[in-house]
């Protein structure tokens, strides 16, 4: 069974998520602050950590950065009330493999956790929109074709996700396998994490991301 760890400073939300996910996953621990979370995650080594973005003491970003530095094999799914672009992009660039908002329904959340556990990326419609926005079609000034541009197929997959379709539906609509959709999304995630794309920087600056 997939092991998960929960980090959220809102006790109520924490207990809600815990009861929703405990049927399908082995919840090995939870905490409400950054330092405890960092220590316990390093000890417990869960498959997936669900982490809230806004918390005292550096927030979820600090947890992801701390743990990612020592245990890169642990996967993160960011969960937040905020869908401000700066939060989304910062969490992804720190090493999070997905980002969902707290309004997600329990079944979709469980699916997202499974997907992250199996090494794939989880893109909400909002995140897909941000990526399309950041990687707009204009050619960047200095650019690395590997990292700075989305392929037409990746762009099409993101468009479908932004239109609200689940991976399975996207696969059917584009006549490709779900596995291929997952591959495209993971490739986009990698670009998002590694690209120094001029547009991404400009876009981030405009939205007050440092």
């Amino acid at each position: 069974m997939t092991t998960i760890y929960l980090v959220d400073d809102h006790e109520l939300f924490l207990s809600g998520v815990r009861s929703e996910l405990s049927e399908r996953f082995d919840v090995v621990g939870w905490s409400t602050d950054v330092d405890t979370a960092t220590d316990e995650i390093r000890k417990a080594r869960p498959d997936v950590v669900l982490v809230d973005v806004h918390m005292p003491g550096g927030g979820g970003l600090a947890v992801v950065r701390n743990v990612h530095a020592t245990n890169p094999e642990i996967r993160f799914l960011a969960l937040s009330v905020s869908d401000a672009p700066e939060d989304v992009i910062a969490m992804i660039r720190a090493g999070s493999r997905g980002y969902v908002t707290k309004s997600i329904d329990p079944a979709s959340l469980a699916d997202a956790v499974e997907r992250v556990a199996s090494g794939d990326a989880v893109f909400s419609p909002k995140l897909a929109g941000f990526v399309l926005d950041a990687f707009s079609e204009t050619e960047p000034v200095e650019f690395d074709p590997e990292l700075d541009r989305l392929t037409p197929r990746e762009r099409e997959v993101l468009r479908q996700i932004a239109r609200g379709y689940a991976y399975k539906q996207v696969a059917a609509r584009l006549s490709i396998s779900v596995k291929t959709v997952e591959t495209h999304v993971s490739a986009v995630l990698r670009k998002l994490q590694l690209s120094n794309r001029h547009e991404l920087a400009r876009w981030a600056t405009e939205r007050r991301i440092v």
Partner: protein, 378 residues
């Protein structure tokens, strides 16, 4: 003013900066001694910005100490004059003039506003020091000017009228300069304070109109679905206000207009609408119908689809705007829509065609509905 040295020394001695500046200028006329002193002082003094206001006199100097300082400075001047570092007979008038001006410009002894009150209403008579100070300053300056005039006959060739005008202007500036400066400072302070209080008032008004009202409504409703809808609408509103650059108040762009429309449909029909917009552009004659058609499509989905949520995706590129309104609800057969149902035909398709755009509706019973709106903008 240049390196803050005069200010530093003034703080150390507990006298006003203007006197120290006057002293430096007077010394500078003595063969550049003042300039030299200033440079040396600058090099050996720790940066005041770094040490903050640590270097200050513990208490203001007494009258005796003030006189002592003045006499010491006078002694230095006499010594320099005796050595012959000074040029010409303008020395003493210049010093008188400088310190007369300094007396007038000295604003350290009181708040500038109070000073002005005294200055404009001297009849109240309760501020003798200020008036005496200004009187002394003017006297020193006049004496200085008279001495200069007496010693420099060549000035007289300029014509007495020109000199009189110049002197009057200079005197006026010296007398009223501090007041004008003080007034400008007060004005800018007041403006900053007013902007701050206006921002606070705007925030309070916004929270009152929106969040407090919604909280009140939530307390008065028993229907959980209604509570969720109210909370969601409020959340969306507050988020737009807090995180969007123009505070979400400007409905002039496609993004804003679509988000506003979605918020209204969401509130009316109790159904969550996920809006994703890539790029943005200003609303114009072609795009307003697109937003209208999108609103209608959202309303249709909310009313008829039975879906648990609606997705709206808008993409603005350089030469077109595309919008997809998607639900995964009941769907329908577009060929069997009763002719009396004007929503789709009139409000979506015809509206798009009239504005030079197009609308495509893909739906099948059980497979949900997708409405695609497109408007070329070039």
């Amino acid at each position: 003013m240049i390196a803050g040295l005069a200010g530093g020394i003034a703080a150390r001695l507990g006298v006003s900066t203007v006197y120290v500046r006057a002293a430096f200028v007077a010394l500078a006329l003595a063969g550049g001694v003042g300039v030299l002193c200033y440079l040396i002082g600058w090099l050996v003094t720790p940066d005041q910005r770094q040490y903050g206001s640590l270097i200050v006199a513990e208490e203001p100097p007494t009258t005796t100490q003030r006189i002592g300082l003045a006499l010491a400075f006078l002694a230095v001047l006499i010594a320099l004059d005796a050595v012959g570092l000074w040029f010409g007979p303008v020395v003493w008038p210049t010093v008188l003039f400088l310190f007369g001006g300094a007396l007038i410009w000295d604003r350290s002894s009181a708040e500038s506003r109070e000073r002005m009150a005294r200055f404009t209403r001297p009849s109240e008579g309760d501020q003798p020091r200020s008036r005496a100070q200004i009187f002394a300053g003017v006297t020193l300056m006049v004496v200085g000017v008279v001495v200069v005039l007496a010693s420099l006959r060549s000035f007289q060739s300029l014509g007495p009228v020109a000199i009189a005008v110049l002197l009057t202007a200079a005197g006026f500036m010296l007398l009223f300069g501090p007041w004008v400066l003080g007034l400008l400072e007060d004005l800018s302070d007041e403006r900053t304070a007013r902007i701050r209080s206006e921002e606070r008032a705007e925030m309070a008004a916004h929270l009152h109109d929106s969040v407090l009202q919604t909280l009140a409504m939530i307390q008065r409703t028993d229907d959980p679905q209604r509570m969720i809808t109210l909370a969601r609408a409020q959340e969306r509103d507050l988020r737009a206000w807090l995180f969007e650059p123009d505070g979400g108040s400007n409905g002039g762009s496609v993004h804003e207009a679509v988000a506003d429309a979605a918020a209204k449909i969401e509130a009316t029909f109790d159904i969550p609408i996920e809006v994703v917009v890539v790029g943005d552009r200003a609303l114009d004659d072609r795009l307003t119908p697109l937003v209208g058609a999108a609103t209608e499509a959202m309303a249709n989905a909310a009313k008829h689809s039975g879906a648990t949520s609606i997705s709206v995706y808008v993409e603005c590129s350089d030469d077109s705007v595309d919008a997809w309104i998607t639900d995964q609800g009941a769907g329908f057969d577009p060929d069997t829509v009763p002719p009396d149902r004007r929503g789709i035909a009139e409000s979506i398709v015809a509206r798009m065609v009239r504005s030079g755009g197009e609308a495509t509706i893909v739906s099948e019973p059980g497979e949900g509905t997708e409405v695609h709106l497109r408007s070329e903008t070039r």
